[in-house]
Amino acid sequence: MSQSCKFSSGLELANLVVNSELLHRSWDAISDLEKRSRTHVPDLPLSVEYKDSEHPGVGTIVAFACPPSSVNVQQLERVGTDLVSADEIAGFFSMFDFVRTKVNPSFSVHKAAASLFSSHMHLLSLLKEKHGNSRPLIITGQSMGGSIASLFTLWLLGDIPTKATKRPLCVTFGSPLLGDRNFQNAISERPTWNSCFLHVVSPQDPIPKTFVSSYGYLSNSSISQTGYMPVGTFLFCSERDGDSACFEEPRSVVQLMLAMSSELEEEQRQKRNFQNVDYGLILERLKRYNPVRKEYSPLHQSNINPVEAETMIQLEAIGVKRLQGNQGNRMTTSLIANVASWTEDYLTQRRNIFDPTKKLNDIKIDMAYLEWYKKVSVEQGGYYDSYKLWRWKSRDEIKSRHEIMKRKRILTRYWRGIVDEAEQMPQKEGLAFRTRGLYAGTNYRRMVEPLDIAEYYGEGKKDYLTQGRPKHYRLLEQWLNEDKQPGTGNRNSRSKACSLTEDSCFWAHVEEATICCNVLKDGQSSLKDRETSRKRLVEFEQYAMDLINTYSVSVEVFLEQSSFMQWWNGYSELIDLIGGFLCQSPLRDFMKNKRYRNYA
């Protein structure tokens, strides 16, 4: 539905999340775990601990912590904010290989998180085995524990089919950002993956912001200065007002963090004293203040559009507007304008996601035209040959040929687009997508590819299969083969000939066989060529016979003027003329006795 008027709904989403109590249960699990690991010596290197538990009404919660974790900021100072790129940590990246896409073939992640994750592979594998299929499943952690939770969730997502309605949810509290722009792109290409990450961030928490602002402060640049980009949804919450708002659009998230950090630096210069943000306290306040109405400074413009109004309220809700104070007023105005316009763009983009089903009906009409053409061309030797040998005749025929070429063009453009898109999608999403369009796509391939073959050989070229076959046909066929359930095998139960030859490259095989015959007929051909051709002809016989036995070729193959029949005529003469063929074969038997007359 095209909505002319847009809403960002970030306030409502945050409200729903807060009321769901999922955050509170996650936090409880983290607190339990951290209580347990208090005793660690602060100078030891970071390690990974976890606690898994069942919660009635919520499901399984797996919490991660990275002790020693008494003061998260100091911890972070030790491990740094460096990114590490694809090939540097071998084991780690082979595990996350599935994240790559065609558009985003390489990515970088937070080095400390990646090495921590890979050095605890054994522990994490066991955990994956245990909970990979538990649903509902929440995976959570604070600070670096949240980074491990995110990576663990991503690892699980690699095994979950996109069509699955129950996905795990990863909830982090004050966690570092995880990866660079390529990483973010690769994840947001799969909206369902992106939807599994919820990051709770207090404006008072220095950790997440370190990843966008360590080399400078507020500027208009829309990307993070350190190369990090946020993934998933961010729930910013204000302790003072007990209010919160959600943001998903990455540039806005970065800008808001930058705005928060410029304020925070000021505050911290004065205190010089880092304390962990107490998310437990914040969550309590969010809950307590939920039924209380929040009305901040009134909106003044009367004709303000909803997204702008929402953005203003959101910034107030998370305390950014207040933090900026009076002198920051101009900055706030531009921040609101930026966030509002990015949000609007983002919404437009998300709503216009290509919907192939809508066009499918139009495409069926184009197919009907071709089907009709196939039917009427039976009198001219079948649609393959009549298309290949077409000669200028009457006006009407020119018109109808133009019509067919036009339809063929539309269909090819449509399917090439669909196939491209499906191919660009990461493996698993693509697969779901491919199955849906596969039936219609197969029909298209069987109907239209013979015409492409006709054009190809009509121009005197050869070796279509290896030299000329367009990629989208190849992929459509490959996907169909992959889609066949193992075990069901080939559908041999057919009792009647199919209306479209199953192998869309049948005619290319016929053409190649004809070329082989010509080689053998030609006295100038080399011995080697003759031998190859002879071999290929025998293979072709077998191939054709297999198709006939399973009723997999359409009846029109046996029309008198068809290329196949012409091949047969030439071939049978050839056999009599030159030796070297076995004296009998099933196909020759079938053809000589004209059993094809009963083929239907």
Partner: protein, 606 residues
């Protein structure tokens, strides 16, 4: 505009309903219902139902106590095309059904009916859902089925929610929503209770019911009203109301963040939704009227929000007393006549500080008196925007009617051309021999495209609630189905699709035909599935493929229905052409069967 005028009900009658509802509650809670003692000459009859006060009278089970509606008693309470039944609170609906079985209600209603009276059903608190169900029962039984000319009204005061979104959708579709008037005072907790799962409020609800029930020893007992149990119950109710309202608002706003879906899969939210007209009383004599159920849902949460944490105790106490103050509040509202009708949600001022003209200022004061923040107003706007969008979609769809008619004319022309040759268009189409067959196929596909788009919109709830009850579309859909579905069937069997997909009727029948058939069957009050004449050929094809002995019963059934369809002109006579697939098949049935068949005469007279 006066309050009574804007809802189409005399103010005297509203007052009478209120007095009687409170009287039922306070004076005769042991009776199943009471009638207003009117003189014989009065043109109205008011019937009020008292509430009941055990927790099990509200929640039959965990978590929300809903069940599928009894469709035999309430045949309209479903979505037609999707064929999904409404959900209703089980405790309330079984109480109503028992009341209907065990009391004189039906007899007394029919008495009032024979006196041509205007009936009003009323109820306070849990008496409200009983009044609502009685009204729907009346509408189904006497208005829809027997065309009684005076539809009843239902007036409730502080009623809990009783039905889900389909319940509300169906009432709007039947154009019955306007007969339901629900009064809600600003903080009354009862209309919000059903947003919470029983487990989270059981103890608190018990206390609230003790406080508000006139039979209870704790009726209006101050210590209960101020107890911590009630306070925490209020907070839980508000949090749940908030969750339901935010979740609904995300959808109203067209939220694209899939986190919504992921989070929703973890939580179970109340299915209950408001229906009918709501009148919110601000408590200082002003009132807000609205009909958009999405907006009402938002208002149920936002109007009861606290303005600061410090007023919790005051508001909680008031949330109980507000449930008992309807007589006074109504009196105030009718005297003040400061009424705002929120029918233009799109123009709602977002700022609480509008300072333009008088009308806007008055609107703003009332909205402020209900405590509506900018956030609340954004949600109301979103509800208005969605409504506007649905209407716009309907306008777009309506503009397709001409192309549909043109397409149908062409297919009709095709049928006629075939008839001239004494060939049924089903058989001709199945052969696809000449260019006319091909052209008809293209038309079929074009029409399918238009209809599929409509069905998609219905599935995504993107059209106004009333769409499936619009006469012109039901007629057009029926015409389309009878004329074009045979071609879809022909295409299906021509391509031998049944060999791998199975019978047409089972898995292959497109939704555009399933939906349109249900539209007609609902509008004409026919038995479900009885208007399957457009699938005639699919039945023939399936019967033809199997030996007669196995299919005997089905053959007889088809023959019987065929006779009626031909007689009623619902099936075109070209199926009877001598060379039609149908006739050829029938003539090969055992002669004994033929001679005994109900269509023997029809077939032999060809």
């Amino acid at each position: 505009m006066a309050l009574g005028d804007s809802i189409g009900l005399k103010e005297e009658l509203i007052k009478k309903a209120c007095n009687l509802a409170m009287k039922a509650h306070l004076k005769s809670p042991e009776k199943a219902y009471i009638w207003e003692k009117t003189t014989r000459s009065s043109t109205e009859a008011v019937c009020a139902f008292p509430g009941t006060w055990a927790v099990t009278d509200w929640y039959s089970r965990m978590p929300f106590g809903e069940t599928k509606i009894n469709i035999a008693l309430f045949p309209s309470l479903k979505s037609i095309g999707m064929d999904e039944l409404a959900l209703v609170n089980e405790a309330f609906s079984s109480r109503f059904e028992q009341l209907l079985c065990n009391s004189q209600l039906e007899r007394e209603v029919e008495k009032a009916l024979s006196d041509r009276k205007q009936i009003v059903f009323a109820g306070h608190s849990s008496g409200g859902p009983i009044a609502s169900l009685a009204t729907i029962w009346f509408l189904e039984k006497y208005v829809r089925t027997n065309n009684y000319q005076k539809p009843p009204y239902c007036v409730t005061f502080g009623s809990p929610l009783a039905g889900d979104r389909i319940f509300s959708h169906a009432l709007r579709r039947e154009n019955w929503a306007r007969y339901f008037i629900h009064f809600v005072t600003r903080y009354d907790i009862v209309p919000r209770v059903m947003f919470s799962p029983l487990s989270s409020i059981e103890a608190g609800l018990q206390q609230i019911l003790l406080y508000t029930s006139s039979k209870s020893p704790y009726f209006q007992n101050e210590s209960i009203g101020n107890s911590s149990g009630v306070t925490s119950c209020f907070m839980v109710v508000m949090r749940n109301a908030s969750a339901v309202a935010s979740h609904a608002a995300c959808h109203l706003m067209g939220c694209t963040n899939l986190l919504l879906e992921t989070v929703s899969s973890f939580i179970e939210l109340s299915p209950y939704r408001p229906f009918g007209t709501y009148i919110f009383c601000t408590g200082n004599g002003k009132s807000v009227i609205l009909q958009n159920p999405d907006a009402i849902l938002q208002l149920l949460f936002y109007s009861a929000q606290l303005s600061s944490e410090t007023e919790i105790a005051r508001v909680v106490y008031r949330s109980l007393n507000d449930n008992l103050s309807y007589e006074n509040d109504l009196q105030d509202c009718l005297e003040m006549q400061n009424v705002v009708h929120l029918n233009n949600l799109l123009e709602l001022p977002l700022s609480s500080h509008a300072n333009t003209n008088d009308e806007a200022a008055q609107l703003n004061t009332v909205l402020n008196d209900l405590g509506l923040s900018s956030r609340a107003r954004l949600c109301l706007r979103a509800a208005g925007e969605l409504e506007r969008q649905k209407i716009q979609n309907q306008v777009n769809i309506d503009s397709n009617r001409d192309s549909i008619r043109k397409g149908l004319n062409e297919i009709q022309g095709y049928q006629t051309k075939c008839e001239v040759r004494k060939v049924g268009y089903y058989d001709a189409f199945k052969l696809q021999k000449d260019i006319n067959d091909f052209n008809a196929n293209v038309k079929r596909l074009e029409l399918a495209g238009i209809w599929d788009e409509i069905i998609e919109m219905l599935k995504r709830c993107e059209l106004p609630d009333g769409f499936e009850a619009r006469k012109e579309w039901i007629e057009l859909g029926t015409m389309f189905r009878r004329l074009v579905e045979p071609l879809d069937i022909a295409n299906y069997y021509r391509h031998l699709k049944h060999e791998d997909t199975g019978p047409y009727m089972v898995r292959a029948r497109p939704k555009r035909y399933r939906f349109t058939q249900r539209w007609l069957e609902h509008a004409e009050k026919m038995q479900a599935g009885s208007s399957s004449e457009s699938c005639f050929w699919a039945e023939v094809e399936e019967l033809r493929a199997k030996p007669f002995e196995e299919m005997k019963e089905k053959v007889v059934s088809l023959e019987r229905r065929t006779l009626n369809w031909i007689h009623d002109d619902h099936l075109s006579r070209d199926v009877l052409f001598e060379e039609s697939t149908f006739c050829k098949w029938w003539r090969n049935l055992p002669p004994k069967h033929q001679s005994e068949s109900c269509i023997a005469r029809l077939m032999n007279n060809i």
